[in-house]
Amino acid sequence: MNDPTTLHGWGRTNPTPARVHTPTGVDEVMAHITEGSPRGVIARGLGRSYGDPAQNAGGTVLDLTGLNRILTIDAEAEPPTVTVEAGVSLDTLMRELLGHRLWVPVLPGTRQVTIGGAIGADVHGKNHHSQGSFGNHVRSLDLVTADGTVHTIGPDTDPDLFWATVGGMGLTGVVVRATVEVQRVETAFFSVDTDRTTDLDDLMARMTDGDDNYTYSVAWFDAVTRGKHLGRAVLTRGNKASLDELPAKLRRDPLRFVAPSFGTIPDLFPNGLLNRATARAFSEFWFRKAPRHAVGEIQNITQFFHPLDILADWNRVYGPAGFLQYQFAVPFTEGVAFRRAVETIVGSGHVSALNVLKRFGPGNPGMLSFPMPGWTLTVDLPIRDGLAELCRRLDDLVLSAGGRTYLAKDSRVSPDALRRMYPRLADFAAVRDRVDPDRVFVSDQSRRLDL
């Protein structure tokens, strides 16, 4: 028996202890599941979920990062595929694939997530409107269920279990292996158009009109400025750059993966460093540093996708009280509710510097998958008095607009609200009744949400 390790999510809230095992083979995963733990088992990857889905107070946590082999890359197939163990990170996979002129189809806001985590949370990226979420690209996966057996499932093989697992937050079993359809690329660069927009209406209108011309689209918006320029934003949209779009200098090494690291943020920041003044300064800087209008700029992966990955452990900047990320989606027809939510956040006195707005395309059949056609907004909020009330007000707005919040970001929604957000929870429970009737797979999140 190893000693309990205290675990928390990326938001650093509500830590709890669990016995952590790091299996290096599927047989070890099976053994840990069948040996039984009175407090159950949950899988964990790189700990990038913000709240409590990858921790299990008093129980067992399987750290899947020991299952880290890339098994086969089939670059000749159409579409090309890759088969990997679940603990491989998207960062590792991406570096490997580039050598084969291949590309990971869905990249969330960080590359430091595992394949298992990407499936469990059904992560999405800037290309959701054009290419869907991660689950859309999974051809099959191996899942170890509560009885210790391996099920190979896919959209055509036990689709119920497959679509309960995609977005299912690890509650159907442990994903140990997956085969994913990938994309061909000529370069590791992007051709990017940038626009500064004057206010929220301008932003939403431009996204509605132009998003379909781009594979990737996202807006950073200013959640501090009130009044006339409420919701002013920097809209960046682009496509993968072809070889002939690159300047001569980059053309010599078109698949070069530019991912600098400026080191790790030390764990010494106090609470309250992000306040109205610093957020205002940051927002002004971020807005002004973007060009008013630029077309066809060539950007690397870090510039375009993952500016925060330059600094490891950036979540420490928020101090020991931690933070949460509130991400919701509402249907396109609820533009008014969306605007009200933005006004509620900006007017609340709670400040957020990292705010992302995006249009989702169609969702997939994942029973607990988050994306739905409509607008999605993400804000980062440090834990302070009054934040619980703000989040509940936003929940009410989201619920009355027929929207939902994202389980991979969640650390505080109520079980009742969740039931109204995810109408297919009964289907999800039915699948679990079949494969895990005794509820071997539990997490702090599943306890909190009565899942």
Binding site: T16, P17, A57, A388, R412, R447, R448
Partner: protein, 252 residues
């Protein structure tokens, strides 16, 4: 399970008819995350009334029998409290003031006060701590008293029992460090409740709501001790060092 703000969903009140315990339940309800309260108390109309009040707040309430002076019943009470799922916060709120002059002259009465105020809390404390350690999370709020900090002639039996239980829970907080379980010892001064009805309020008296507010915030922040009102920490720091010859003459 607590949420990101440290707000609990399930509350176990040992001594569930105490004014402070009920104020704590109302305070957690106002936080917005509380769903279920387990009221452990003697059966009877007081428990029924308390349960009714909490149900009116939209809470799911379970009633359990608690007989502080029957230690053989304690394990069952604790077992039942945890059968429906995890408990996030356990409040030790039962106690008696006793009759001060009878308590040091009547051997039966001193035993009663000692069993209710000390033996039962430590016995239940061990049983509850085992449950919380197994679930890997949870908080204990132990209602002590400033009366246990510097023992006064006027109620020294009560004071001595509170000194004992205070020490136990303070030590339990240390023993449980790293287990995911925290313990907060709450040291109120004179609280205007049914327990003190008819007594003349002492200086720095507080209401049950004020104690609840401080207790809930302290538990959320993982504080080991909280004084209600806060000023008592300073007052008692001084009073603890006043020579007995002078202390004896002080007018309270």
């Amino acid at each position: 399970m607590n949420d990101a703000f440290g707000a609990p969903q399930t509350l176990l009140l040992l001594g569930g008819t105490s004014d402070i315990a009920l104020a704590i339940a109302r305070r957690y309800r106002a936080d917005g995350n509380l769903r279920r309260v387990i009221l452990a108390a003697r059966p009877g109309p007081r428990r029924q009334t308390a349960a009714g009040q909490l149900r009116e707040l939209g809470l799911e309430v379970a009633e359990l029998d608690l007989e502080a002076r029957n230690p053989d019943s304690h394990a069952t009470t604790v077992e039942q409290a945890f059968t429906a799922g995890d408990v996030d916060v356990v409040v030790f709120a039962f106690g008696v003031l006793g009759e001060a002059e009878r308590a040091w002259t009547d051997a039966d009465h001193v035993l009663e006060v000692a069993e209710i105020n000390y033996t039962a809390p430590v016995h239940l404390g061990v049983l509850v701590a085992a449950k919380l350690r197994a679930q890997g999370h949870g908080s204990i709020l132990a209602l002590s008293s400033v009366a246990g900090t510097r023992i006064r002639r006027s109620n020294f039996v009560y004071g001595s029992t509170k000194a004992g239980m205070d020490g136990f829970f303070f030590g339990l907080a240390e023993a449980l460090r790293g287990s995911g379980v925290s313990v907060t010892v709450v040291r109120p001064g004179f609280v205007k409740t049914k327990m003190t009805a008819g007594l003349k309020p002492a200086p720095l008296s507080v209401t049950a709501e004020q104690v609840a507010e401080q207790a809930v915030v302290a538990a959320r922040d993982g504080k080991q001790v909280v004084w209600a009102p806060r000023l008592f920490q300073l007052v008692m720091l001084v009073l603890r060092h006043v020579p007995q010859a002078i202390f004896r003459k002080l007018p309270f």
